[in-house]
């Protein structure tokens, strides 16, 4: 997030939520948004193919066809430009590329966008005005925006919208991705990515690499590595020999599980470090028992860049070990001695190599934690980025983006759009929440959400088992008839191994830049059993 979570509760005068079912996936953030709307009168605009809890509360709700986000956002920008609502001072002072963007956006009139998205032109106009005229408006998004073959374009488009109206660099404004996992921000910050070391220092950058080579006393590869989805593809081609998986569950979380399964089976050697015998661990040659969050010291970085302490409460079960100790043992046995006395000891090494964390110490993280960048020990941390319109690259760059259709569109054989997501009561691949007695008792199984009109057409009753199929496969699942989605859209959560929807999703449809799979759109059909 460019800004901070608590600004959503008090500072934002308008909140635009696109592709985030906030009250289910980030419930406490959802509560803050609702409080601002209900108690302070903040305006709320929601764009989502499913009429979420927040959509019911919104001043404007836009139910756009899945995968048409760029068109919708261009439509809002078209209105803002044509009605003179753009912040020309901000654009002139702090940005570049406006003309090229404006030229592309010119043809996305609300009437034209209505034909693409299905959102009435009048609603696009109202949404654009609410956002542009609020004074302090923020955009919140999540995987509903990013898990598309045009995910990068979608994110660039929300950045366009924020810069166009000067809604960045002040409290209550910003571009706020709501990150879905406890430490996904930290995993990225720590260089758990194929192209960057810690704090996004490029592996291809000689100076950055030299710094790490000196600190680590080793020579480092310069060529950026493969993303997770590319790694699976390479394994599928038989070119990947060994894979070490720590606390990940690709046999549930990745697209097209047939593809993942074949890839894992082709590996010469698979090591899985986990707290449970996950669906992925079953394919391993060696399984190493790790520790969960309650059993270790360390830090997590949340979606607003706040680094907070994790504290050990209990011992791991049996002989299970804290994960960093396992990594150290393995490295040492491979001839590269790694030895640390504590998590804090590791943090101290890390921060010396990580400019945005350099000013953080465990002592300073007690209490409220610190938000990066925090470059020095007397730096208070950074609640919001891009103050006074100063961007890290200099001028903020507008991108001129045309709408591109999703990769796999409905056709005669597969006439529906399948879109996937999470439930309030479960988390990701369910390895933890499915083993929580109350959560699993309350929501024990997957359902496919279908519109009443579609149910009527197919003669399907609420609660009946149906067959959901795509080009990858099919599964039998209970139908939940609900009018929160359009007639040609069906929705499933991906938490349940018994009916894992990722057997059906599409591994061939990735965003060309981010390599993120298009979980939010694939062609599907539904049959009565």
């Amino acid at each position: 997030m460019t800004n901070s979570i608590n600004e959503l509760e008090k500072d934002a005068k308008a909140i635009f939520v696109i592709g985030s079912n906030t009250t289910e996936n980030h419930p406490v953030i959802g509560m803050k948004i609702k409080k601002n709307v209900l108690e302070n009168g903040a305006k709320l605009v929601v764009a989502d193919p499913r009429r979420t809890d927040l959509a019911d509360l919104a001043d404007v709700y836009m139910q756009h066809r899945p995968g048409t986000d760029v068109a919708l956002l261009n439509g809002m920008m078209n209105v803002i430009i044509s009605e003179g609502l753009a912040d020309q001072d901000f654009i002139a002072a702090n940005t570049e590329g406006y003309e090229a963007m404006a030229e592309v956006v010119a043809k996305y009139t609300p009437e034209y966008v209505e034909t693409i998205t299905g959102v009435p032109a009048a609603d696009i106009r109202r949404a654009a005005r609410l956002y542009a005229e609020a004074g302090a408006a923020v955009i919140c998004y999540a995987m509903g925006l990013t898990q598309h073959s045009t995910g990068t374009d979608n994110v660039k488009s929300v950045c366009n919208l924020a810069m166009l109206t000067g809604n960045i660099g002040r409290p209550g404004t910003g571009v706020d991705p709501l990150r879905g996992q406890n430490n996904v921000q930290g995993a990225c910050d720590m260089g758990g990515l194929p192209n960057v070391l810690t704090a996004y220092q490029q592996v291809a950058n000689d100076a950055a690499r030299a710094k790490f080579e000196e600190a680590w006393n080793v020579s480092l590869p310069a060529k950026p590595g493969l993303t997770l989805t590319e790694t699976i593809n390479k394994a599928h081609h038989g070119e990947m020999k060994a894979l070490v998986i720590i606390g990940e569950n690709p046999m549930m979380s990745d697209p097209d599980l047939h593809h993942v399964e074949e890839a894992l089976e082709k590996l010469d050697f698979l090591v899985v470090q986990d707290i449970f015998m996950s669906e992925t661990a079953k394919y391993a040659d060696v399984v190493l028992p790790g520790a969960c969050f309650a059993e270790k010291d360390g830090t997590f970085s949340n979606t607003e860049r706040r680094v907070q302490r994790v504290r050990k409460a209990v011992d791991p079960p049996g002989q299970a070990r804290v994960d960093w100790q396992i990594i150290c043992d393995l490295a040492t046995r491979m001839g590269y001695p790694m030895s640390y006395s504590s998590a804090e000891d590791i943090f101290e090494e890390m921060r010396k190599l990580t400019p945005s964390y350099a000013g953080m110490t465990y002592a300073r993280l007690e209490g409220k934690g610190l938000q990066w960048p925090c470059p020095a020990e007397d730096h208070p941390g950074t609640p919001f980025l891009h103050k006074d319109g100063k961007f890290s690259r200099g001028k903020g760059a507008f991108s001129a983006i045309e709408f591109i259709e999703p990769r796999e569109l409905p056709d005669g054989e597969y006439p529906l759009i399948l879109t996937t997501g999470r439930s309030l009561f479960h988390y990701h691949t369910g390895t933890m929440t499915r083993r929580c007695v109350a959560l699993d008792e309350h929501v024990p199984a997957a359902e496919v959400e279908i519109n009443p009109a579609l149910a009527g057409q197919l003669g399907i009753e609420d609660g009946e088992m149906v067959r959901l199929s795509t080009r990858r496969g099919s599964l039998e699942v209970k139908a939940k008839v609900t009018d929160i989605l359009a007639e040609d859209v069906v929705f499933m959560t991906f938490h349940f191994a018994e009916t894992a929807v990722n057997w059906l999703t599409n591994a061939d449809s990735l965003d060309p830049v981010a390599k993120i799979p298009e979980y939010k759109v694939c062609a599907a059909r539904l049959d009565k059993i």
Binding site: I5, V28, M31, K34, Q181, N182, N183, V184, G186, D189, G192, L193, P194, T198, P221, K223, G225, L228, T229, M240, K241, L243, V244, I246, E248, P250, S253, F269, A284, D285, V286, P289, F293, A294, E295, F300, N302, T303, R306, Q308, R311, A313, P317, G318, Q319, I327, L330, A331, R333, M334, Y336, M338, A343, F347, G367, M432, T433, R435, A438, H442
Partner: protein, 354 residues
């Protein structure tokens, strides 16, 4: 500033302060049940009544504004006597079951009865309601036989969670907290966040997941960060005998900066996987398609030698590490260091895209 006298001492407080705020600012403690600094004021329990010179009635300090020249007594004999009667009236509807109550030792009603020496009530004859304890949800135990109608749960539901799932049904002696049509929580807008449990001063609302596992005075509370979504909520793991037995809230903005105690259903009730019998206690090695238990030495030697061999035969880029959005920063740092410095490849990624 407002200047007033409390218990013979002249004090100054900011304009707009209540008498309760004035007292607390100057270290004078008042008993409160319905008052909660994060919630809309109710002024309903009357425990915080004070005597103000020249006023015919006692004032509820939580809602009465501090005024210039006020002379306030907080523990005068009349106030103490009135509080005892108030406690007796509360006990008239609170069917005290302290022996088996989850909140025993952590109950404000119990504390105040102890403080004011109230052990019984003269008002229990006949009319006490007996409410069935039968909401079938797996998260929240609702025992309205213990409810003292402070309405903190109602105000937390509408003011923190913004769910508006519950409210007061009926009035007077028949008043009761209820969902619309007094049904089950699962049929209401309840999202099972348990903010109602967080604010309940007595044992009317408790966690079914923690039931019977330990009372507040038996557990150590370890402040940490939630393991689920990216919001980064602070929570307290309740530990008894090296076992997590529950989750409670820390409501201080200085220690719980993101959520100030508010949690969701997963954060508050989704902790028992930690103790699951399915947790992996030993390393496992697959032989002939079956896993067998192994020592750490055997398992790590095997992994190290296989990876070393593959590195030599097929090169570093034939290997990859999937690190995790679930483990700590320190562990992620080491995982990518392992991939780059030990395996010699930049093939390291995690589920940020999934």
């Amino acid at each position: 500033m407002v200047t007033l006298t409390i218990n013979g001492k002249q004090v100054q407080v900011p304009d707009g302060s209540t008498i309760l705020q004035a007292c607390r600012l100057h270290g004078i403690e008042l008993p409160t049940l319905c008052y909660d600094p994060d919630l809309r004021l109710a002024g309903s329990c009357r425990m915080c009544i004070v005597e103000v010179k020249g006023r015919p009635l006692f004032l509820a300090a939580c809602v009465a504004p501090a005024e210039n020249g006020m002379v306030v007594e907080t523990e005068s004999p009349d106030i103490v006597q009135a509080r005892k009667v108030i406690l007796e009236l509360l006990l008239a509807r609170h069917g005290g079951k302290c022996l088996t109550c989850e909140k025993n030792g952590n109950c404000k009603l119990q504390d105040y009865c102890y403080q004011y020496g109230v052990s019984d009530t003269r008002y229990a004859d006949g009319g006490r309601h007996h409410y069935p304890i039968d909401d079938p949800n797996p998260f929240i135990e609702r025992d309205y036989n213990k409810c003292i109608m402070c309405t903190r749960c109602v105000r937390a539901c509408e003011g923190i969670t913004m769910a508006r799932a519950i409210n007061v049904k009926n009035r007077g002696h028949n008043a009761k907290i209820a969902t619309a049509f007094d049904g089950n929580l699962a049929d209401s807008p309840c999202v099972f966040c348990g903010q109602c449990i967080m604010v309940c001063p007595v044992g009317a609302l408790t966690s079914k997941v923690s039931a019977g596992l330990g009372r507040a005075y038996e557990v150590e509370k370890v402040l940490t960060t939630c393991t689920y979504c990216g919001t980064g909520c602070t929570l307290e793991l309740n530990v008894k005998d090296n076992r997590v037995v529950g989750v409670t809230s820390n409501r201080s903005a200085d220690w719980s900066p993101v959520n100030r105690g508010a949690l969701c259903v997963k954060g508050r009730f989704g902790w028992d996987f930690i103790n699951s019998p399915e947790r992996l206690p030993t390393p496992l090695i697959k032989e002939n398609g079956e896993f067998r238990e192994a020592s750490w030495d055997e398992a790590l030697d095997l992994v190290a030698s296989r990876l070393q061999k593959i590195k030599e035969e097929s090169g570093p880029d034939s290997m990859a590490v999937f690190t995790s959005a679930r483990i700590t920063n320190e562990e992620n740092y080491l995982a990518q260091k392992f991939a780059r410095a030990v395996l010699g490849t930049n093939n390291v990624d995690h589920c940020a895209r999934l």
